[in-house]
């Protein structure tokens, strides 16, 4: 589990690494941590999987990937892990999650598909439906329209409690 210093570090780096010759030293200055400790803690957080990746986070839309759909299915709970694993193999899928069903929203499997245009995304979805045999399950396709906000999660530190939830 991350300790308080890890959470402080994540809170200060989640907005982005500064563009200067010694960015890790600069982040460290804000929380009284030396450069070597910043680097070793980030390395450890990556190894533990608490940082999934560290690097350039691109904005898809201005780079020509104008279409983005969130696709949801209602699949049997017993098969969701296997189906989630299969869906994740496709390169155009950027996220794949299980979320709880609600009476007004009875879907439990979510994935995000990015493509250059709507037709491409729909063709990719057809490919998924066929390859993973998802065609018989109830589903919804929600293309995105306006993006009101996109930035990294800001973890207010130090937290009073850490709850394993998402």
């Amino acid at each position: 589990m991350p300790d308080t210093r890890d959470l402080e570090l994540l809170a200060h780096i989640s907005g982005g690494l500064p563009l200067c010759p010694r960015p890790y030293a600069q982040i460290g200055l804000q929380i009284g941590m030396d450069e070597a400790e910043v680097i070793s803690r980030l390395g450890a957080l990556k190894t533990q999987g608490l940082i999934k990746r560290l690097g350039v986070i691109v904005k898809h839309r201005p780079l020509g990937y104008r279409a983005n759909a969130m696709v949801v299915w209602d699949v049997p709970d017993a098969h969701i892990k296997q189906l989630g694993g299969q869906i994740s193999q496709f390169s155009f899928v950027t996220l794949c999650y299980q979320r709880p069903r609600h009476s007004e929203w009875p879907y439990n499997l979510y994935c995000m598909i990015h493509g250059k245009d709507r037709a491409t995304v729909l063709a990719q979805l057809a490919q998924l439906n066929q390859a993973c045999e998802l065609g018989d399950f109830a589903r919804q396709i929600l293309f995105s329209r306006r993006c009101f906000k996109q930035r990294g999660a800001v973890y207010q530190a130090p937290p009073t409690t850490v709850t394993a939830n998402g």
Partner: protein, 156 residues
Amino acid sequence: MQTTTLSALHKRLLNDFQRDFPLSPTPYRDIAEQLGVSEAAVLAAFAELDRQQLISRIGPIIPPNHIGASTLVAMAIPAEQLQAVADKISAFPEVNHNYEREHRLNLWFVAVASSQEHLQAVIATIEQATGFAALQLPLVDDFFIDLGFKLDLQHA
């Protein structure tokens, strides 16, 4: 949307450093050496990508269920009120992604807080401030989280 002409350096910075950004005291110099350009050129190119809003940031992707508490939230907002409601929601520092989607549930955002109590307080405040119900869809399991994305920048 403006059409941007990207240099070869811009393209490599966009595609080759989405994962495993150098964890050394001088990451930009390491990248510069790898690409055979100067550190100043790398810093200037990243600044330009940032200025043109082609990158969100250089930073970590943190999976949602390990640190703090977070949830995806869906709301059904009448079209004529959507921008105003979305702006109110975006103003919360706990909200990081906020999108309009094509559905009756047309506003989708992610809220992140240091604890479940804090998260629920934020959602309650949002419901009160907007007058609309928030459908909470927290993560149960993740099969795959954005591990970067190979961009086809041939025509960019």
